[in-house]
Amino acid sequence: MHIADGILPMGVSIAADAVALAGVYASSRNLDAREIPRMGISTTAMFVVSLIHLPMGGTSIHLGLYGLAGMILGVRSFPAVVVNLLFQSLIFQHGGLLSVGVNSMTMGAGALLSWLIWDFFPGNRAVKSFVCGFLGILLPAFLVSLIFLLLHYGKGMLFLMGLYIPAAVVEGILSFFIYRYIHRVQPEVFAR
């Protein structure tokens, strides 16, 4: 789901980098030092889990935990997603360095949607944890496939979405169990 360099026009990639940078600034304003360890640990979890791949349809797809990041960090999940993608690009060549901006926006959108669902939608938190995990990866997959559709690139929107629906279910279940675990051992992690 990471977009490599050379797929998007360079101007678009640079503009997306600028927008992502502005997004990092806006979402990090008035950051309290006490929030940083939680951000660091969530970023590490995203970095680690993104290396779990599910072979599917002749290719491989991976998890992201963007939904869980949105649940834990709220609006601060955006800078965490950016840092995670930067390190993935630098260390594992997952996604281009110039494309970090556009990747951040697609995957950050999943985290921010989860934050909105988690904080502003009424409902059972255990159910919401599954929904956040599910949509936290499905929205980025939808946005990436939309970009590919506009560029006339790739195997088609339905193919990509079809691949990511099982991943979204896995991610929803994983988010549910991680929520249950953290809620039991350290419930204040989910407090704002």
Binding site: D32, I41, T59, Q93
Partner: protein, 153 residues
Amino acid sequence: MKKIFGLIFCLWGICAPLPAHGIVLDVRLHFPTVTIQVRYDGGGPIAFALVQVMFAKEGSEFQKGRTDGNGFFSFTPDRQGKWTFSADDEMGHREAIEFVVDEAFFRGKASDANLHAGSNWSYLIRLLAGVILILGLSALFYRWKKGRPEPKA
């Protein structure tokens, strides 16, 4: 906090043996063909990946096609010089490699070389480096931020 760290290390333990997702190109020069295997970092071959072969000096396309079911692609170079091979899995992942086809290759002598595009660091080392860097930078940022006055509500 120890339990949260425990959770991350469990995730790490789960994912450590699994293949990562970057593209790796293994090039084998053996007269009269150049054979390249396109695979995901960690081992899985990329079947039917879109590939392009360019003669680097002229920037001209020499061949275009797809890998076979096992991720292999072969072509027969017709001149000496620097060649570029790029692969795309059409899922947003791309990788390219440059290699030289020299006189020895055409003489059919000992020009059997193996080249590799992708990181030479092992998967686990990179994973560990990433975790240490992210946590280390978070600690530094925390230390720096904590030394400053709290923001006004």
